[in-house]
């Protein structure tokens, strides 16, 4: 029985189209794995299969050796798998603090409570402050999400997802839409993550990938083309031609 996340022979078809084909992935605690591949390769689909947003056509997912394939999305979050979205889906009328509050309340199983105020738990409020501080969001705590720059929204999303205290973290293009002048914020945030956390990062920005990942998986047409260290991947001629946009000479 191995710790972390194991994906075994995962397949997914949409109608006749295969978007995940026999995928096997091992994500032990502490992993910093990047999933790269051209647009439409099936990266988001794969992430959604792991989190339970989509049901697979076949295959199994194990968390710490336990088959979690039958769990729904919410149950998988409770089990320790959390994901950020390619496009942010935040609460447009809640401020930053309320985002974190909601996540932490839910993590503690408190969202059924009727007879106390949502902000009356001192420990939770202190945790919110700490998490805001970590992400340099303290000054924006009371700002409505709608008034924030996109890069800041991504940080809120990341802070909120981390507030769930996941053991497996999946980041679907965390830097998408973030001005390159701000992508260092994402890199810093990922660098600061708990060492034991297993991270799967889906990303287009190669600079970001090479900074945070120590292992890279290349997905093409729903299939794993190859995997290896950043050095191996960047040296792989197949990858260069397929993904990095270089022509065969």
């Amino acid at each position: 029985m191995s710790a972390g996340l194991q994906v075994k022979n995962l397949n997914k078809n949409f109608g006749g189209i295969t978007v995940a084909s026999n995928i096997n992935i091992d994500l032990p605690p502490g992993a910093r794995t990047a999933l790269i591949g051209p647009n439409g390769a099936g990266k988001t689909t794969f992430a959604n299969l792991i989190t339970g947003i989509l049901p697979p056509s076949s295959g199994e997912i194990y968390l710490d050796g336990k088959n979690i394939s039958g769990l729904n999305e919410a149950a998988r979050v409770k089990a320790g798998i959390a994901k950020t979205f390619q496009i942010t889906t935040l609460f447009k009328e809640l401020n930053v603090r309320e985002h974190l509050r909601l996540a932490i309340l839910e993590r503690n199983g408190f969202t059924s409570r009727l007879f106390r105020r949502a902000n009356s738990d001192a420990a939770i409020e202190a945790e919110i402050d700490e998490r805001l501080d970590q992400m340099n969001l303290s000054k924006l705590a009371d700002m409505a999400i709608n008034n924030m720059a996109y890069g800041q929204q991504r940080l809120v999303e990341l802070a909120m997802t981390l507030a769930l205290k996941p053991r497996i973290l999946i980041l679907d293009e965390p830097a998408a839409g973030v001005p390159s002048s701000e992508s260092y914020l994402i890199i810093e945030a990922v660098a600061k993550l708990d060492r034991d956390l297993a991270v799967l990062i889906i990303e287009h920005d190669m600079k970001l990938v090479f900074e945070v990942a120590n292992s890279i998986i290349v997905l093409v047409n729903g299939e794993i083309l190859t995997e290896g260290t950043p050095a191996e991947i960047s040296a792989n001629p197949q990858v260069r031609s397929l993904y990095l946009g270089e022509r065969h000479e």
């Binding site: 947003i53 149950a75 979205f85 447009k92 809640l94 408190f110 969202t111 009371d142 909120m160």
Partner: protein, 335 residues
């Protein structure tokens, strides 16, 4: 960006009534109660109508929880009001005519119906919820029509006389006791709902409204949460229905009417959704305009209501509660 807000006040964790009251504008609540009491003295011969308005306020508050907070559009909320009304009526007729017990029975019956129908409704989305909720209320209306031996059929359920409230306050025929009774229940329901919407549960309801996807992603069982919200709303709608049965000592199948469900949605939209006060203001406005227009011109009052809705939706889409903010916004804009 505001840098000082109630949220940044260091939190001691202990619940403090002083801080609680300081945080919220109590004078608004007191002014509203004062207005209701003023109506009692100003319109001694219209107490039946005033009381009816207060009952519908309770009903619209229950709708606000589902539609305004959780964002579930239903056109069948009268199903829950009607269930409460029939349950309270039958209970008074066959068991005991104690008003308070009757309220509890109405609340329980309607929440059971809400729970059971919610199991189906909350699986659906958007238009499907709308259709299913209408269908559900109409089925109940048909049942109450058909089961004449139990419900009195189309003539309605009658023949019960309510006992004095708490054994002390007898219902009089001008409706004075009824007014105070309903006002007291309205205040209790309002305080309860204020607490609910400020609670973690209330925050989760708003979260579901604003992003179901994100709620799932933080691990919320959205479906069961919605069923719980609907059930809670059902209890309150049932209380409103029970009050209506007790005050008029009559329940007709019209309590389930889709037109009634639609009217309360309009009231909520008029006042503003998701803030409780909108339910109060919208109900008062709608019913007073309706009452006045219908007595001036019994045939064309719908035009007045329609016009009112159009004006509000066009100029203050967020409801009358947003009027001050809207005026400020328009005035503040450079011309």
């Amino acid at each position: 960006m505001s840098n000082i807000s109630p949220n940044t006040i260091p939190n001691t964790g202990k619940f403090s009534w002083i801080k609680y009251l300081k945080d919220r504008p109590l004078w608004v609540d007191l002014a509203l109660i004062a207005m209701a009491v003023a109506c009692y003295f100003l319109f001694p011969y219209s107490l039946a109508f005033v009381t009816r308005v207060l009952i519908v306020m309770i009903f619209v508050l229950s709708l606000d929880l589902v539609l305004g907070y959780a964002g579930v559009a239903t056109l069948g909320h009268a199903a829950l009001f009607g269930t409460g009304a029939y349950a309270a009526g039958l209970f008074a007729l066959h068991a005991t005519a104690s008003p308070i017990l009757g309220l509890l029975v109405g609340a329980c019956a309607a929440s059971v119906v809400a729970f059971v129908s919610g199991l189906l409704l909350m699986r659906a989305h958007g238009l499907t919820v709308l259709m299913l909720s209408i269908a559900f209320a109409e089925v109940l209306q048909e049942i109450s029509n058909q089961a004449g031996s139990i419900t009195g059929g189309a003539d309605g359920l009658a023949g019960f006389i309510m006992n004095p409230i708490l054994g002390i306050f007898e219902f009089d025929f001008i409706g004075q006791t009824g007014f105070w009774y309903v006002l007291a229940v309205l205040i209790a329901v309002f305080i309860f709902l204020k607490m609910v919407v400020a609670s973690p549960f209330g925050l989760a309801a708003r979260g579901i409204h604003q992003s179901v996807v994100r709620m799932r992603a933080i691990g919320t069982g959205v479906y069961w949460k919605l069923v719980a919200i609907y059930t809670l709303s059902g209890a309150i709608a049932g209380i409103a229905g029970a009050l209506s049965a007790q005050i008029t000592e009559l329940v007709s199948p019209e309590v389930f009417a889709t037109s009634f469900s639609a009217e309360v949605v309009i009231m909520l939209i008029l006042g503003g959704m998701g803030r409780l006060y909108g339910a109060i203001i919208g109900t008062a406005l709608f019913m007073v305009v309706h009452h006045t227009a219908a007595s001036v011109d019994p045939f064309n009052w719908l035009f007045v209501i329609g016009g009112l809705v159009l004006v509000v939706v066009f100029f203050v889409p967020a409801g009358l509660l947003a009027l001050p903010a809207e005026i400020k916004r328009r005035m503040g804009r450079p011309t």
